[in-house]
Symmetry: C2
Subunit: 125 residues, 2 copies
């Protein structure tokens, strides 16, 4: 039986996102996981989160979310990241901070704080 | 001699902000502290940070920054907050995530991630 720490689970989740393995990444989420992309709104449930992330995976040739700092206390993990997306027109970079809650080795909450215009201003007009 | 943990220092800093004790709060920052209010830009140095925060202290009758979650690893502390500001027209609420680095019991880095329009859309037109 695996005994992964909350921090290992979050690191593994980001690694799978970077491999564009969406099925693998979302398998680390609980069935009713809350995904709160703060300025854009919330999505609930592993399947709905998969559907939410799928267009990003299809649109971007590469995804490289770089973890700059990470802290953990009990079942909560927070990270500071530079989320990079290779769009057809070039790299888009989104500085953000993520908050994760782990329960029974599953991610039950994933919340990202970022400035939405910083992202949208880099997209094609 | 005091032996405060990084987390205690950050909690004390937020408490002093909420008391509107700006001199006390900034006394916990290092002389060359970096304050990065991500979508708005960086300010360097205790005195410059004091000058940056002073108008907010004068404008708002009350400041109530509520820490929702907090994690710490080594010298890094991260928190999820709801920063509330009582402006003359009413309460303004800013959900954000903060990252702090502590060195020699002083805050050397304070970086907040938030969505700027969420804040500015609540200000008087």
């Amino acid at each position: 039986m695996s005994e992964k720490t909350p921090e290992q689970i979050v690191t593994g989740f980001i690694d799978l996102i970077n491999k564009k393995d969406l099925a693998g990444a979302t398998s680390l989420l609980s069935e009713n996981c809350e995904y709160d992309n703060v300025p854009m709104g919330k999505v609930f449930g592993r399947e709905a989160i998969y559907a939410q992330l799928e267009p990003m995976m299809e649109r971007c040739a590469e995804i490289d979310w770089i973890t700059i700092r990470q802290t953990a206390s009990d079942f909560i993990v927070m990270n500071e990241r530079l989320d990079k997306f290779l769009w057809p027109h070039g790299w888009v970079e989104m500085p953000c901070a993520g908050i994760f809650e782990i329960k029974d080795e599953e991610i039950v909450l994933w919340r990202d704080y970022f400035d939405l215009p910083t992202y949208t201003n880099q997209l094609p007009k």
